[in-house]
């Protein structure tokens, strides 16, 4: 259990920016170095975590921890990955708060705003990327994205309603293959 805690604390504190960097570290520690899991176990957990709500990497940590050490493993894996990283995040936020009113911090924020906005757009494009494989059905995928985009931009309808409607539409008309974008899943 101590070894498991060390691994997940290392992943939580060494992977910067989340996504694929966290995924790669988990695989390196658990499959390649310590051999606590087989490649097949890791891949299966990765497929299942894409189906979870919220942060997929938390679901992945929970699934891997459970596979290695049962429910105690879930607690150790998730808290090991999340708590130290959350402390670092809170400290960074507090530190930024100290200088937030300085002109240089305001200038930096003016540059970070388009960067984070652009990164959000980039992530959205990644989520849609898989549609290219669908041929003519891609039109339906892009139409769903466009409708969701327009609803949020020009109406006051709830985003929640858009997501639930999209999920229901997908269950009825898009159920032909599992999502396969590792970038989107790892976020």
């Amino acid at each position: 259990m101590r070894e498991l805690a060390k691994i997940f604390i290392a992943v939580g504190t060494q992977s910067v920016g989340g996504g694929s960097s966290t995924l790669l570290l988990l695989r390196r520690f658990l499959v390649e170095r310590r051999r606590l899991l087989s490649e097949r176990d890791f891949t299966e957990a990765w497929v299942l975590c894409q189906l979870s709500p919220g942060i997929h990497l938390v679901a992945l940590a929970g699934l891997l921890g459970q596979r290695i050490a049962g429910w105690r493993g879930v607690v150790v894996a998730v808290s090991g990955m999340m708590v130290p990283a959350a402390i670092i995040t809170a400290i960074m936020t507090a530190a930024y708060g100290v200088i937030a009113d300085q002109p240089i911090a305001r200038a930096a924020l003016a540059g970070m705003a388009p960067a984070t906005g652009g990164m959000t757009l980039g992530l959205a494009f990644i989520l849609v990327r898989g549609a290219r494989r669908h041929g003519l059905r891609a039109v339906v995928d892009f139409a769903l994205v466009a409708v969701a985009f327009a609803v949020l931009l020009v109406t006051t309808l709830s985003s929640l309603l858009v997501i639930v409607s999209g999920a229901m539409f997908g269950a009825m008309f898009l159920g032909r293959e599992r999502p396969t974008s590792p970038e989107g899943a790892a976020e």
Binding site: V11, G12, T13, S15, V16, G18, T22, L51, S52, G54, H56, V58, G62, V74, V78, M82, I88, T89, A90, T93, Y96, G97, I104, A107, A108, L109, M112, A113, P114, A115, T116, G117, G118, M119, L121, G122, L123, A124, F125, L144, V145, A148, L153, S159, L160, V162, I163, G166, M168, F169, G170, A171, F173, L174, G175, E177, E183, G184, A185, E187
Partner: protein, 171 residues
């Protein structure tokens, strides 16, 4: 902001979204539209989430800290950690259904709707002050979108690059 209210909002939006940034459109509608958070605070939280360690979904911890101090960060941590763990009992009870094509379609439909919402949110965040954007902000946003899509550059470097461009051109 009351930490318990913050916990409930974050928990609900995390439980109804896919991925670390999937809750962004929901939270923006719940918190920015109601005046509890500014877009600038949201940008700050997103940037810190990209620069910090661990999953980038921890940007909500930064947001929680801004809204309610250390207790807000704890609430955000709990709210973002609990919903993904629903997959554990779900796989135990309904593993075959989770791997069915209809459930895959449900997830894909939710992911595509989330993509559309993220597009709209990304556009809104490009210039959170509401003023007309400068040329360099437009260029930075387009470049960040392209670099994120390609995935060749670390997201932390993109954020730092944006900050440096701001320091050089916005003063």
């Amino acid at each position: 902001m009351d930490p318990l209210t913050l916990f409930i909002v974050l928990l609900r939006d995390s439980a109804l979204s896919l991925g670390g940034l999937g809750s962004l459109p929901l939270l923006r509608q719940d918190l920015v539209a109601t005046g509890m958070v500014t877009d600038a605070q949201l940008v700050q939280a997103l940037a810190i989430g990209r620069l910090s360690t661990g999953p980038n979904g921890l940007w909500t911890v930064s947001l929680g800290y801004q809204l309610a101090g250390p207790l807000g960060a704890v609430m955000a941590l709990a709210a973002s950690s609990l919903p993904p763990l629903l997959i554990l009992p779900a796989t135990a009870v309904a593993r075959r259904w989770l791997l069915s094509v209809s459930f895959a379609g449900l997830v894909r439909g939710a992911a595509l709707a989330t993509a559309g919402l993220l597009c709209a949110t990304g556009v809104a965040l490009l210039w959170p002050s509401g003023d007309a954007p400068s040329w360099w902000q437009v260029v930075t946003g387009v470049a960040a979108a392209g670099l994120t899509y390609q995935g060749r550059l670390h997201p932390g470097i993109v954020v730092i690059g944006g900050a440096l461009i701001g320091v050089l051109l916005a003063r």
